[in-house]
């Protein structure tokens, strides 16, 4: 049945060295195709931009019209960056849904089996997925943050600031990083939980309640202020530094560092689950 020419060629098509880069490129291209070929993922990204921008304008406008009703002390300490980025606490939710759908959608539909049959090396598959999503999420975050900033300034009218104003560049960069990290945190969490519904049932209430100020309750703050979304709020000027109630026990970049640790932990946890579990 097998002639003398039948030398085994297993693995000969792609050498281990040059093959890896090409393999990663292939997986990233496949993941990219998956993202834009589904309405749900595309809509989640568009909604992130639209919702954040719309809320930015509305909140800016609300502050602008009711500025004179604020007590004089608050007028003096008014930080235009607070209304500018407050809308992101809700605007982030579609982006978190996107992060969850990246992986959860595969488990929900059974596509995960086709994915792992096509890319059986789990680390390559998972790494390629994160590598495909991260630049896209960063780009969408940048568009969202810049659009939200300008919409909020339009709403703020006389109280508006420029992009170069004190603290604004850091807050803008921080907001881009925040959105990107919180989305990848969601991806890691969804990989650990292997389900969209389960992940959203946990993530959305936490993030929604966080934005509604649960992190400021004196009894809960000592712990809750270290949750990923709370840690990211400082750099966006959504907390009041030094304020006993609304302040945090850490600075903006420490907060960002805490969020980076959360995201890294979620992604690593996702990898360990992906590597060990049967599909």
């Amino acid at each position: 049945m097998t002639g003398p020419e039948a030398t085994p060629v297993a693995g000969a098509e792609a050498g281990p060295a040059g093959g890896t880069t090409a393999a990663v490129r292939g997986v990233v291209a496949a993941e990219w195709t998956k993202i834009w070929s589904l309405r749900s993922t595309v809509w989640a990204l568009l909604l992130t931009v639209a919702l954040s921008t719309g809320l930015g304008y509305l909140i800016g406008r609300t502050f602008s019209t009711s500025f004179h009703d604020l007590p004089p002390g608050q007028q003096e300490n008014f930080d235009p960056l607070f209304p500018t980025f407050y809308g992101l606490t809700l605007g982030q939710l579609p982006l978190v849904v996107f992060g969850v759908l990246l992986v959860g959608g595969e488990y929900g539909s059974g596509t995960i089996r086709a994915s792992l049959a096509a890319v059986p090396r789990r680390g390559l598959f998972y790494g390629g997925k994160v590598l495909a999503a991260a630049p896209l999420v960063l780009a969408v975050s940048a568009v969202t943050v810049l659009a939200t900033f300008h919409a909020a300034q339009a709403g703020l009218g006389p109280y508006r600031i420029s992009l170069g104003a004190d603290g604004a560049p850091t807050a803008v960069v921080g907001a881009c990083l925040y959105l990107t990290l919180i989305c990848l945190f969601a991806t890691g969490a969804a990989t650990m939980l292997r389900s969209s519904a389960g992940s959203l049932a946990i993530l959305l209430p936490i993030l929604f309640l966080g934005s509604q100020g649960v992190g400021n309750l004196p009894q809960l703050k000592p712990v809750l202020q270290y949750l990923p979304d709370q840690a990211g709020m400082v750099i966006m000027h959504l907390t009041l530094p030094g304020d006993p109630r609304f302040g945090r026990d850490y600075g903006p970049w420490t907060g960002m560092g805490i969020l980076v640790l959360w995201t890294a932990a979620a992604l690593i946890g996702g990898y360990l689950v992906m590597r060990r579990r049967d599909a």
Binding site: M1, T2, G3, E5, A6, T7, P8, V9, A10, G11, E13, A14, G19, A22, A23, G26, V27, A29, A30, E31, W32, T33, K34, S37, L38, R39, S40, G105, E106, S109, G110, T111, I112, R113, A114, S115, L116, A117, A118, V119, P120, R121, D278, A279
Partner: protein
Amino acid sequence: MVGGAGDFRGLPAARPVPSVDRVIEVRSLSKRYGSTVAVDGLSFTVRPGLVTGFLGPNGAGKSTTMRTMLGLDRPTAGEVLIGGAHYRRLPEPLRRVGALLEAGAVHGGRSAYHHLLWLARSNRIPARRVREVLELVGLESTAAKRTRGFSLGMVQRLGIAAALLGDPPVLVLDEPVNGLDPEGVLWIRNLMKGLAAEGRTVFVSSHLMSEMALTAEHLVVIGAGRLLADTTVREFVGGSASLEEAFMRVAGNTAEYRAGGRR
């Protein structure tokens, strides 16, 4: 007997793949889920050039065995080698092994075309190959539609298209006739025979004995996760009136049965 199988329907192969690369070896395979034993010390070899039927009642461990072949499930003990290598080690596995998984490994919100396109990209298969396999399975007119509205038969055809995407020398098909109408059953039967005649390894599971009697030349029969027979269809049926009767005769016998032994 192998030779030019590589240029099967359009995808130019770099070189003919030697037939030793097409052998599937299942070695002392066991798989437990908690306390449930799905596969229990299973060993057999699947050879190229003919359709090998994988037969057993529902729950016998066929799907578990196939998932393990594809690296989706990790064996509790034993291993499966395809051309001497573990599936997880194959660099671009779709070019080596084409698999039809249980129906439903497709996202309903994605079009048939895009489902095949991401699969192709993942293994660096040219995008034009997507059109070719869509035509081959007769889905070219519905390629742009989302698969949510597909009938079970159309989903099966899409699964076959995915299996053929990389023009692989080895095919592992789990219950391919499920949900197909008579015309589809005839089509898949001829397709499998044709692929085997080109020198490919075709390993196909079914719980439908009569279908296997018409399609397969060789049979691997399992029950409760254990090997019951590894033989030709002719020998397996033997004196029985049908494959069903032969199966009941073997399944009723607790002793391991190997008419003809392993070739």
